[in-house]
Subunit: 196 residues, 2 copies
DNA sequence: ATACCATCCTAACGAGCGCTCGTTTGGAGA
DNA sequence: TCTCCAAACGAGCGCTCGTTAGGATGGTAT
């Protein structure tokens, strides 16, 4: 109660749009589709969002926020780079798995935003990647990582993580932390058997 | 010359559509957009393709074909699993990098096909992944790979490969083979320094 | 009781969509 | 020269899109 109006129509619209943009894509989902699923008329959406672009934008912004506020404490933590990198991978996996729809929209549908906002997202992604580059750089300098190219290595780490939303299911056999740990193992130790 | 009618209008439409579907997405690209870029009227497209869905379908089919006919000889080759897996990674990377637009459409836009064709693509992807699973399985049985879950390991391999189209540029510093070799190194040896 | 405001409705707008159709065009074969 | 046909034109069909306008409704604060 009190100030927060959770499960308000706006929240329902936000959540439903996230779901449908993930499921069918932004342009294949109409304003009326979303409204119908929430139980109101198409035009009524405009009491809550200024435009369809605004609706997508608020979803993308919220998703970006979640990634940043999850990774920043890890990147800034006072811990060994070995554990920090593992922790970062698990954290990223947890953000994705805790809201697959949002992750999918953030990864795939963001490019249908208005040109200005698309540029803004590009900037955010660069910023996020540079946080990873800094960590990887430290790993290289301290001799923990063998890679020489921090940017390439960061991309490699993020690629398997960002693939997660295509196959991970919350009702599957793995928890978010298990899946994060598995990816961390694969990423840092490789698939090949160590002892030869 | 002779029989082949390359650079025919149909080929131009195919190529241009592939480009624009990659660039803006299927639903954000109109029939008239494509036609204009080729230099004909919107209606004229229907002299070459039955529908917009048909156009997308032919692009997706062609892309799938390229993956299959590239990987099958490798999977069936008489060579050690160590080299076979490396060769397979490089091959997949070459297919992607040799036509980034097609790879992007095949990876991202296929889901906007008609339901029947979407199901067909799902089947193809499963089939393709099972080729990889068979190779990975062999790698596990022969003790080359440490992983215990062939499906998960296959997904891990393909995830960094399928991320390629988002950042690889043919005019960049790396060739297709170099990038394939790099990904193979990362994937099988891991980012961590081996000797501790 | 009254005023207010957010929310939702119905109805409609203009634009653009995929696609069709009757027609024109221009080159190849007889 | 005449015939044929694929390819392209250009108008326009039916429809859906995102968005807007004006009015009803119902709860809250005065």
């Amino acid at each position: 109660m009190a100030t927060a109006t959770t499960n308000s129509t706006r929240d329902q619209l936000f959540h439903t749009a996230s779901q449908m943009f993930c499921e069918k894509g932004f342009h294949a989902t109409s304003i009326r589709d979303i409204a119908e699923r929430v139980g109101i008329q198409g035009g009524s959406i405009y009491s809550h969002f200024e435009s369809k672009d605004d609706l997508l934008w608020s979803i993308v912004q919220h998703a970006a926020d979640r990634f940043f506020s999850a990774i920043r404490p890890v990147a800034g933590a006072d811990m060994g780079i070995t554990q920090k990198l593992r922790k970062a991978v698990i954290t990223h996996a947890e953000v994705i798995t805790s809201d697959l729809d949002a992750a999918a929209v953030y990864t795939v549908e963001w490019r249908h935003l208005s040109p200005e906002r698309r540029a803004e997202v590009t900037k955010l992604r660069d910023e996020y990647e540079s946080i990873w580059r800094t960590m990887v750089d430290q790993g290289i300098r301290e001799g923990y990582l063998a890679a020489s190219d921090a940017a390439g290595a960061s991309r490699f780490i993020l690629s398997s993580l960002n693939y997660l939303f295509t196959w991970f299911r919350p009702d599957g056999p793995l928890t978010a932390e298990e899946v994060g740990t598995l990816i961390a193992d694969y990423t840092f130790d490789g698939l090949r058997r160590r002892t030869v």
